[in-house]
Amino acid sequence: MHEDQVNELIRTLAPQVLGVLVRRGADFATAEDAVQEALIEAVRHWPDSPPDEPKAWLLRVAGRKLIDAQRAEAARRRREERVHDEPPPGPTEQADDTLLLLSRCCHPALSPASAIALTLRAVGGLTTAQIGRAFMVPESTMAQRISRAKRTITGERFDTPGDVRAVLHVLYLIFNEGFTGEISLADEAIRLTRQLAAATTPRAGTETAGARSVSPEPAGSGDPEIAGLLALMLLHHARRDARYTASNELVPLDEQDRSRWDTSMISEGVEVLQAALARDVLGQYQAQAAIAALHDDAPTAEETDWPQILEWYDELTRLTDSPVVALNRAVAVGQVDGPRAGLAVLADLDPKLARWDAVAAHLYERAGDVALAIEHYTTAAGRATSLPEHTHLIKQAARLRAAAQA
């Protein structure tokens, strides 16, 4: 068949074929695309092997293209729907739903990163773009992480009572992400924990963001660990302005300008903590909050009540086998019983632990062993997991060297 003949035939047949497809119920645009693709095939094949029935040929090929397109479209739509199914930005949910939503988002089947992303999106009301920026990943990556998380929890049980601990862990992780740009994840974590505390308080609605509880019923009376975590966050966050210099350098607790601590946040934290402790069901967040409160309470670093802090670390050691707790306890022992006692505690811990060298350096310095302190600060800097920590440890080594030379 000559090319001109093919083109003429095609022009005649194309609208007929399209008509048949649309009449059979195909979407116009999709059918039109399918016909176009069939025409391309026709132009390629007809000159060499002309069909006996050109219209039937075109209809068959276009029909197949249409089915392919519909399959692809259906798959694409399923993917899109998963994205669009994301809960709308909150916090419009009823307070009672907060725990339910949170326990769904923080389901133990999810990886921490997925639970964090889903929580911030579904309960925190952040957009996928904002969450992506906060974690410095592309928006599409974050969208994918969220939709995968939703697929993971589909069909999972999520309303078991034990899940509140999983929720608290995720909120704690969000708090520790701190501040990475436009969104302060620490503020976000506090907001969510407040919401959870209010939702699990029998007299819901008496707790409002930023204001202290005036209700006789303490916040988070459902589980004192909720209040414990809220207190922990407040008591740490109160020091945020003093923790970093303008160029993002870390300022250790004993060198912080305590006048820059947020005193109203501290008193709120203490109040929330006392109400939680009064219920006499101790947990690790309450114990950590108690330690933070003792630090916050000291007008100067020298006036810190280390013996009481050490008691709380002993308590924490009974509650958790966290190596971080064990390391911090060694520091407290060093303050109470002297650096050599602290080093003796440290000797029983695994030197591979993150920050082991940093603690060793600090204790050697206090013990007056400058050479070993410099050595450990340098090792610790090499093993640091954040840039502010790395810089801080290098500076500690530098400070000791400079002092030794002077």
Binding site: S247, N248, E249, G382, R383, H390, A398, R399, A402
Partner: protein, 138 residues
């Protein structure tokens, strides 16, 4: 606009350090380190203001080599190699008008104050990204 990677090295196989600048940061005074850090963050801020900043990152000195070891087998690791000759400390990606501008920015970064407040004259490796194929290229 073209993207360039500015690479900072802890150590490298490149040109010899400018005499008098060999002393590593952990031998500086705390004030010198602070001045250096301040300069670096101000430099990034200047690039942001000019609309040239893309991203930056600092890398931990210890790395490990990893490779595939066959179906169903765990990855093989080797290292850490803290003593390798070439060790990347960090990077900055910039999007600039020209190669000249990329070099100018690198030189500005290299002028960061070091020991005694003197510029560190650090050698930075400047690597252009492969560009997207132009729509008009045939």
């Amino acid at each position: 606009m073209a993207k360039y990677l500015l690479l900072k090295h802890y150590r490298h196989n490149g040109p010899k350090p400018v005499p008098g600048t060999e002393v590593m940061m952990d031998q500086w005074t705390p004030e010198e380190i602070t001045a250096h850090i301040d300069y670096m963050s101000q430099f990034a801020e200047r690039l942001r203001e000019r609309g040239e900043f893309v991203s930056e990152g600092a890398l931990s000195p210890e790395g490990t080599f990893v490779r595939y070891d066959g179906e169903g087998r765990p990855p093989v690791t080797d290292g850490p190699f803290a003593e390798t000759k070439d060790l990347i400390a960090g990077f900055m990606i910039i999007d600039v008008e020209s190669q000249e501008r990329a070099y100018e920015a690198a030189a500005e970064l290299s002028a960061a104050p070091g020991q005694g407040g003197r510029p560190i004259y650090e050698w930075l490796e400047v690597r252009p990204f492969f560009a997207e194929l132009q729509g008009t290229t045939e």
